[in-house]
């Protein structure tokens, strides 16, 4: 059983702070039992290291294959999702950007209005109603006037057409009378000639 102030195995593996190491060294200097124990530990350590590393019998290596290599975009994407700190940073950056954009484009806060005067409100409402009624009347009158104008124009057009038709009829009738008169005259002349020839 070791009587050292600190574990000799901690000393062997360099796990002690410098003041603690000095305490162990001082103790081992004066304690034959701990000195022997530490020597055995050192001996064990050095004996273990006698088993040297072997060389690798065959070199390990990989061949580049473009088919399996990710695209630059793919690498960036995988790099982002494959790394928690990068993903966290990206999230924080997006949140910050959203806050900045909101700060610039947020709607203006509503300004609180002083208490309104009822008489003034009534006057304003009345004025608005009057204006609305006048506007509605004007629009109605305009619509009626447009309708009357259209009706009058249509009546005039119909009257003109009728007048044109009557006039054409009168002209046709006059021409018929003239033709009839000419036929009568021709008949009269033929009759007169016939009467003159009959006594012979």
């Amino acid at each position: 059983m070791s009587c050292s102030p600190f574990d000799l195995r901690d000393y062997l593996f360099g796990e002690l702070a410098e003041p603690d190491r000095r305490q162990v060294e001082a103790h081992v200097h004066s304690c034959a039992h701990c000195n022997e124990d530490l020597e055995r530990l050192r001996l064990t350590h050095s004996t273990l290291l006698a088993l040297r590393d072997e060389e690798v019998p065959q070199r390990i290596g990989f061949v580049s294959d473009k088919v399996f290599e990710p695209s630059p975009l793919g690498r960036a994407w995988q790099s982002l999702w494959g790394s928690s700190p990068k993903l966290g940073f990206a999230s924080a950056a997006m949140l910050s950007a959203a806050l900045v954009i909101f700060a610039f484009f947020r709607p203006a806060a509503a300004v609180s209005a002083p208490p309104a005067d009822p008489a003034k409100i009534e006057q304003q409402v009345s004025a608005r109603v009057t204006a609305a009624v006048e506007r509605a009347v004007d629009e109605s009158e305009a619509r009626q006037a447009a309708k009357a104008t259209a009706l009058l124009a249509a009546a005039e057009q119909r009257f003109e057409e009728q007048r044109q038709a009557d006039r054409a009829n009168m002209e046709n009738l006059a021409q018929s009378i003239v033709v009839l008169q000419k036929q009568v005259n021709v008949s009269k002349s033929l009759l007169a000639r016939a009467n003159m020839e009959e006594p012979r």
């Binding site: 195995r9 064990t44 006698a50 088993l51 072997e54 690798v56 390990i60 690498r75």
Partner: protein
């Protein structure tokens, strides 16, 4: 080590952009460590190599999920740890667990005889085989891979106190096995 971490981060960045050559360079920096970690856990060179390839393939497929490139090493070994224990589950019948001393026998390293006594390598291998799976992996990560306890906790997905307890308990077992051995003059 800092420069290496900086260069690794640069290679990771390029590999994430689809630069396979940069990833191959990154592999060349880490393949020996990953291979030896898996070899010491699995005890089979062929399995260790196959799993190493799987580890680097999975790492490439998931490289974009690595948030901090400076944490590449524990992240990579976490993948290796998962692969190793998936392999263990495939090897052993369902419901059967590994007991103490039942670990697959670790072969003596091929090059050990040239620089170190073969007896020492056998002694270390045998001592590591006395540990349970968790203790053995903890020792491999701490002694051979040089990870800090915090990094080991990340790799093994358990508290630092648990990791520390495994390493220290294993160290006591190994000390009992190896320290008297060496002091008796095996080397």
């Amino acid at each position: 080590m800092i420069f290496r971490a900086v260069e690794d981060a640069d290679l990771i960045r390029k590999a994430r952009q689809g630069d396979v050559e940069a990833y191959n360079l990154l592999i060349s920096r880490w393949e020996k460590r990953v291979y030896n970690y898996l070899l010491r856990i699995l005890g089979e060179r062929e399995d260790a190599l196959d799993l190493s390839q799987d580890v680097f393939l999975k790492a490439y497929q998931n490289l974009r999920k690595l948030d901090d490139p400076a944490r590449f090493a524990p992240w990579l070994f976490r993948i290796a740890h998962n692969e190793a224990f998936s392999a263990f589950r495939r090897r052993r019948p369902e419901g059967e667990t590994l007991g103490e001393g039942e670990f697959p026998g670790l072969d003596v390293p091929a090059g050990a005889g040239a620089a170190f006594p073969i007896e020492l390598s056998i002694a270390v291998t045998t001592a590591l085989g006395k540990l349970n799976p968790e203790q053995r992996e903890a020792v491999i990560l701490k002694i051979y891979q040089g990870f800090k306890f915090e990094e080991m906790a990340e790799i093994l997905a358990c508290p630092v106190s648990t990791v520390k307890s495994r390493v220290y308990t294993a160290l006591d077992v190994l000390k009992a096995q190896l320290a008297p051995l060496k002091s008796r003059g095996v080397t």
